[in-house]
């Protein structure tokens, strides 16, 4: 690829005392690409996501992010205001638990609009119209714009969270088990939605999941993690259909084929 990567990590190390979470992890993410990080619980997936997004600081290693103006900067060397600006404009987060990013007692419109107001928008009508548009995008009836997420089902909350993340047109999305804890039909709908939106808006994403099915549906590339190391990376189909590393083979064969 001729275009330089959007996000590039090298030699990331992180330990919690004697417990090693990341061991010399490196990866690169290109614009518009979805990279799935798979592995069992405790393999360091979420630690990696936190370090990549600047929410925790690694013991060693660098994460370079190339921003809208094409300037590259080390994520962990950024001043807090700059990082917070990225969080509310160029980056988006989708958590497993929508409660982490939604305000449960504020209307759906307010939840989506908050990102816009944080970015300085001050036109009520425009904010409301944008919120209604994004509700429709994630298949929530715009008539429910004034209802708080408390009154929404789990799947709707997750879709609302996605709308909130995408409203500022981020270039990079961090997703941590976006369909965890939802039943299969609801999962399918959300995956469908994510795939469509990520492709249409050409959003790059780092997707952390233990569910290889989710990875196959959404990601172009996969990184398999075990005990803090990336043991195998490659195109999704290649890794899932013909895994090379013994652990990757084990992981793939552990999935029940229906």
């Amino acid at each position: 690829m001729s275009e330089p990567p959007l996000l590039q990590a090298e030699g990331l190390c992180l330990a919690y005392g004697a417990q090693v979470a990341l061991d010399r992890v490196g990866l690169a993410l290109w614009p518009g690409e979805v990279l799935a990080v798979v592995g069992e619980s405790g393999s360091g997936k979420t630690s990696l996501l936190n370090v990549l997004s600047g929410r925790s600081t690694p013991d060693a290693g660098t994460v370079l992010y190339r921003d809208e103006t094409d300037a590259s900067a080390e994520v962990h060397a950024m001043a807090p205001p700059r990082l917070r600006r990225l969080y509310r404009s160029e980056w988006g987060f989708v958590h497993q638990d929508p409660r982490e990013s939604l305000r449960m007692d504020i209307s759906a419109g307010g939840n989506i609009g908050e990102r816009l107001m944080e970015s300085g928008q001050r036109h009520y009508g425009a904010i409301r119209a944008t919120a209604a548009h994004w509700l429709a995008e994630v298949e929530i009836d715009p008539a429910r714009i004034d209802e708080p997420p408390r009154q929404f089902s789990g799947g709707m909350r997750q879709r609302l969270q996605i709308a909130r993340a995408l409203v500022t047109h981020p270039r990079l999305l961090f997703m941590d088990e976006p369909t965890g804890g939802l039943d299969v039909s609801v999962q399918a709908r959300i995956l469908d939605l994510l795939r469509r939106l990520v492709a249409r808006h050409r959003i790059a994403a780092v997707l952390v999941t233990h569910d290889l099915g989710v990875a196959r549906l959404l990601a172009q590339r996969i990184a398999v993690m075990r005990a803090g190391r990336v043991v195998e990376t490659g195109l999704t189909d290649q890794v899932l259909d013909d895994p090379l590393h013994p652990y990757a083979q084990l992981l793939v064969s552990a999935v029940l084929r229906v």
Partner: protein, 274 residues
């Protein structure tokens, strides 16, 4: 008065408070912590305002104290008498004659001058406290000037009620930088904060914070472009002086539901009625 230092507080304490005031004036709208003292009145009765007043009073100052605009209520009378006793200074009820005005929840209707100082009693200096329960987190939001959450509150009001439903303590942005509580003055008074000629000092005794709005500073009430800030006023004339411009209190006059509107600013009203 014998046995007391001038204006009750000792000189060390006054210097400490003055340092906080200087810092507050240098950073308009920013809350400066100070070592609040016990005062001979309970928290919530103006312990912050009274300490600020004590720190800035000089022997030739003329003090006016108002409570909700009135000179003749308990809080106003007792604070005025307090300083008359412990500082031996002149007091007045006339806005134009005062050099220092301590106020609870109002700004006088009479336009203030550059040689006057307005001291506010503040119960809750942190405008974000209902939105962000952690003080440490609120301070970080101030440092980063992240005030989106306050706009979400206005958004919710407009979405549910068609208008912003904050009638007092309406949040303002001071000098385009700090989100600030104007103390529980009615939103009607907010426009008077903007480019006021007098120095405005805010003292919160229980919370031990001082902040300030220097003379002629820009003070904007938060709003949306398509829902501009609109101060509310009862649609009536004062029953005593006939004013249609001043802020009005509704007063019950009998047990049969009789009620009248009168000016909340007693000095303004008396001046017009005379």
């Amino acid at each position: 008065m014998k046995g007391y230092n001038f204006a009750y507080l000792d000189e060390q304490t006054k210097r400490m408070i003055r340092r906080a005031i200087l810092k507050a004036v240098a950073i308009p709208g920013h809350q400066v912590p100070f070592g609040g003292r016990e005062m001979p009145l309970p928290y919530g009765w103006g312990t912050g305002g009274i300490q600020v007043t004590a720190a800035i009073l000089g022997p030739r100052d003329v003090l006016k104290v108002i409570d909700q605009g009135a000179d003749d209520t308990t809080n106003a009378v007792s604070i005025r008498r307090f300083f008359a006793r412990v500082a031996g200074i002149a007091t007045t009820t006339r806005t134009a004659e005062a050099s220092v005005i301590q106020t609870r929840h109002r700004i006088p209707e009479t336009r203030l001058r550059a040689d006057q100082i307005l001291v506010y009693q503040v119960p809750q200096p942190e405008p974000l406290y209902r939105l962000e329960p952690s003080r440490a987190a609120a301070r970080r939001l101030h440092a980063l000037a992240e005030y989106g959450a306050m706009h979400v509150r206005l958004y919710e009001d407009i979405a549910r009620l068609g208008q912003v439903a904050i009638s007092y303590d309406y949040p303002v942005l001071v000098n385009r930088r700090y989100l600030t509580s104007p103390s529980p003055i009615p939103a009607f008074d907010n426009p008077k904060l903007h480019r006021m000629a007098a120095l405005q000092l805010f003292g919160a005794g229980r919370e031990k914070r001082i902040y300030a709005i220097p003379p002629y500073t820009e003070v904007r009430s938060l709003d949306f472009e398509d829902h501009p800030f609109r101060p509310h006023r009862a649609d009536a004339a004062c029953a005593l002086c006939g004013s249609r411009e001043s802020y009005l209190d509704e007063v019950l006059t009998d047990d049969r539901g009789g009620r009248i509107f009168v000016c909340s600013d007693t000095d303004y009203c008396a001046g017009r009625a005379a």
